[in-house]
Amino acid sequence: MLFHPHNPEHPAFRRKVNFLYVIFCGLLGIILFRLVYLQVIQYERWWRLSEKNRIRNETLYPERGYIYDRNGKIIGDNRPSFDLHIIPDECKERCLYAIQRLSSILGIDSSSLEVSYKEWIKIHSPFEPFLIKKDLPYESLIKVEVERLFIPGIYISQIPVRRYKHDFAFSHLLGHLGEISETELKILKGKYALGDIIGKTGIEAVAEDFLRGEKGWEQIEVDAFGRKVELLNIKRPVRGSGVYLTLDMELQEFAYSLLEGKSGVIIAMNPKNGEILAYAVNPSFQASDFVRGIEKAKWQEYLSDEKAPLFNRGSYALYPPGSTIKPFFAIAALEEKLINPSSKTNCPGFLWIGNRKFRCWKKEGHGRISLIEAIAASCDVYFYRVALLLGKERITKYLSLFGFGRETGIVLEERKGLIPLLQNNYTPGEIANVGIGQGHILVTPIQLLRAYAAIVNGGYLVRPRFIMKISEKDGAQFDPPSIEKLPIKESTLEIIKKALFEVVNGKMGTARWLKSPAIEMGGKTGTAQVVKLEKYKFYREEDLPEKYRDHALFVGFSPYKEPEIIVIAVIEHGGHGSTGAAPLVKKVIEKYYELKK
């Protein structure tokens, strides 16, 4: 029964077993040394930490990534923000006194704070800081620092918060921040904690993952007055990646300044690749109101404001396009060979459709005009006829081809708009009305801009883009350029482009007074009718109360050959396109050339 050499009596086996025991005793010895080190040599330090002082665990919040314009100028960076708290375990029975004293220094109501404190302490641990005031101004901060000597348990936390170069001009594009909601917290499980600030709309939301950064933390030893004694451990936070926009900051600020006192939109884009150069929307909101999460009262104020400052008019507002839709009807008719560009049609100032008289905007009529003249002069009668010739199916086909009635794919929240639907039946009158951009057609400014870009860039439908690069990575992977070639003959587009040039430069052009030798510009005016009350029917436009005036639209591009900028202006209740919107577009284009130098 013996198992040589693994007979338990065998010395080699005994040696192994003894060796195992020696190892174990050695390990116990290491632990003993460690215990002596901690309990005898470092005793003072740990005793102090356990008895007198406290360890604070603090989350170190990262800076949000900066936002830059196309030239690397900073649009959004960060500033420090200080919050005042007290820690109940440290101020003990003097907490209520501390609240009273601090609120008198800060000039805030102490009684409501005391009430909420009494409720709060019931459900929270005494080691958790109780918030007294968010975002202390600098002067208060100094006063509170002095108070620390008299009141124990004061705790001031510092976090970086977003600061914008311009509080209003960029708001609709950048979007707003806000405290994370419970549903967002559930969806983004693990990445965020309660109370974190997160991008809610616009670029701040789209690039949230890059802008967010990485949280850090520190463990510090503090004395009974909350003063730092020793830093025990730290992991530094990491700032989020920088996001470079396609925007030109100065052009944007200029465009926004043009909108002062008006409701409307100015968007400038590079027609070749869809890069947005300016995206100004007014009325706008104050972005700094949102950086630490908006207060309820302020939010309500924004929501109840009649001017709808939170409403992103660039991609979410629907307008009747008015005459700006006419070139697309012309394209459709040319492609379908329904009209001949050189043949002329008579405009007597009206057209009978059924038993209703459809008027041209020019009461006396345009007389005999060609297609180019009809676009330049924006003749309504001509386009009633074109619309009737085309019919519902072809209208829908071509409008949809140019991106109307569908999303542009912009990163902001947008609406599809409305074009005549195939399944619906329309009277000839309704169809004719669509030909001049009224009735069953609604577009967003960004849609209209993109459709025009397709005319002037030789038939390419581009996706409007905002993000040029993130950190050093090319933004194409986040906001990819997408270009669709439209099945439209180049000769057709050439004719229309010529007509758009005539709008500004021709004898009959609706915007001919903008013609200047310095800037070569083409474009199209539009005036979108707003439903008026009966009693205002015979008023002249300028005598109408503002909210009943028509919307003014203009899309302009420059230069004629190889356009490098295309701009849309939509001014609500701005009156005529040629006077309400076209001058703004021209100024933006002038500014563009000035900045280019």
């Binding site: 195992l20 174990f24 632990i31 005793y43 330090r45 463990q219």
Partner: protein
């Protein structure tokens, strides 16, 4: 030799009683903890006595039944187990819940000891035997990983590995195994999923989780260090009373003991463990079969690994992996398995031919 068994049993019961007193000190408000642990101790001690009186060769004959039964239990945990702390670890039977992964440790020791008993070669293990042993270990360990309970799975692997080494691993093989790990580690890393990587990162660097494990370690060190030489006295540990210290009755029970009873208390406890392990190891000399020797050694290795990892962990020299201190920490399954271990190990002293204790 009955005397030796009772010394072992007495030492283990003494550590457990101290453990219960310690649990009582940390959880006055929830004294049901110490009561429950007392019940577990009674059951465990009786089990140890019964196992001591059973011929250990019966265990040998039942090894495959035990092995497959363990695999089934582990599979059941993965399917119908109770969740806690993001993992399924417990099975519920009536009012008692237990962790099959704890019992898997004993099963591994039994199956490997019998394998060693049959296949042992004087020149050391060849590759085929090593692969067979590896598969025997890997099946249950893999199921435990799935729960996921990396701590226990790691201990199962360590027990298996040490048994393989002690029973006669060639130096060359040892070198190759080391080389193999060095090469495959980066490859495995590439194929791992993100959450698995994250788990391993926080295993290697607990400070990456600030308010979690890094916090535990610092609080544990404060508790130990502030105890000084004589300790703060029973029930006076500020760290533990103020609830700074997490898991203070389970994994970090030793820190509480050190805070309240100082270096003197700690040395006393370490001494008890040294005695226990010494007495257990001696049994391996009495065994009449190779199976018995390795059964004892396996059980001793299990206790040694757990004691060492836990003590290194609470004193801040090893990452927080959630290994309890045998006999001392709160936890029924762990206590029962530890006592079963000493019961089975002691039964090796029984001589089946003479019907007497050696």
């Amino acid at each position: 030799m009955k005397r030796e068994f009772y010394i072992i049993l007495f030492t283990a019961v003494l550590i457990s009683v101290i453990g219960i007193i310690n649990i009582y000190s940390t959880t006055h408000l929830f004294s049901s903890h110490s009561l429950r642990q007392t019940q577990w101790l009674l059951i465990s001690a009786i089990t140890a006595v019964i196992l001591f009186h059973i011929d250990y060769l019966r265990v040998y004959n039942m090894r495959w039944i035990l092995y497959f039964f363990t695999l089934v239990l582990l599979l059941m945990v993965d399917i119908v187990g109770i969740e806690g702390g993001g993992a399924r670890r417990w099975l519920k039977l009536g009012g008692w819940s237990f962790q099959p992964s704890e019992f898997a440790k004993l099963t591994i020791i039994i199956i490997l000891s019998s394998f060693i008993d049959q296949k042992w070669k004087p020149e050391g293990w060849n590759t085929i035997d090593l692969i067979k042993m590896f598969l025997l270990i890997f099946l249950p360990a893999g199921l435990v990983v799935l729960q996921p309970d990396l701590g226990t799975a790691g201990i199962i692997m360590l027990i298996g590995f040490f048994l393989m080494v002690i029973s006669g691993m060639r130096l060359k093989t040892l070198f190759y195994i080391f080389l193999f790990f060095l090469i495959t580690l980066p490859v495995m890393w590439r194929f791992m999923l993100d959450y698995q990587k994250a788990r391993i990162v926080s295993f290697l660097n607990p400070y990456s989780d600030p308010l979690g494990k890094g916090y535990h370690i610092l609080q544990s060190i404060i508790a130990i260090g502030s105890g000084g030489i004589g300790g703060k006295g029973f029930g006076r540990g500020t760290q533990s009373v103020l609830k700074f210290l997490p898991s203070r009755h389970t994994d970090f029970a030793f820190s509480v003991w050190c805070e309240e009873h100082g270096l003197i208390g700690a040395v006393f406890l370490l001494g008890l463990y040294a005695v226990l392990i010494f007495m257990l190891l001696r049994i391996s000399f009495y065994a009449k079969r190779r199976f018995g020797s390795f059964l004892v050694i396996g059980i001793v290795i299990m206790l040694m690994v757990e004691i060492t990892i836990n003590l290194f962990m609470v004193s801040g020299m090893f990452p927080v992996v959630g290994v309890p201190l045998p006999f001392f920490s709160y936890g029924g399954s762990s206590l029962l398995v530890s006592f079963m271990g000493i019961g089975i190990a002691s039964s090796v002293m029984w001589d089946r031919i003479t019907g007497r204790f050696v």
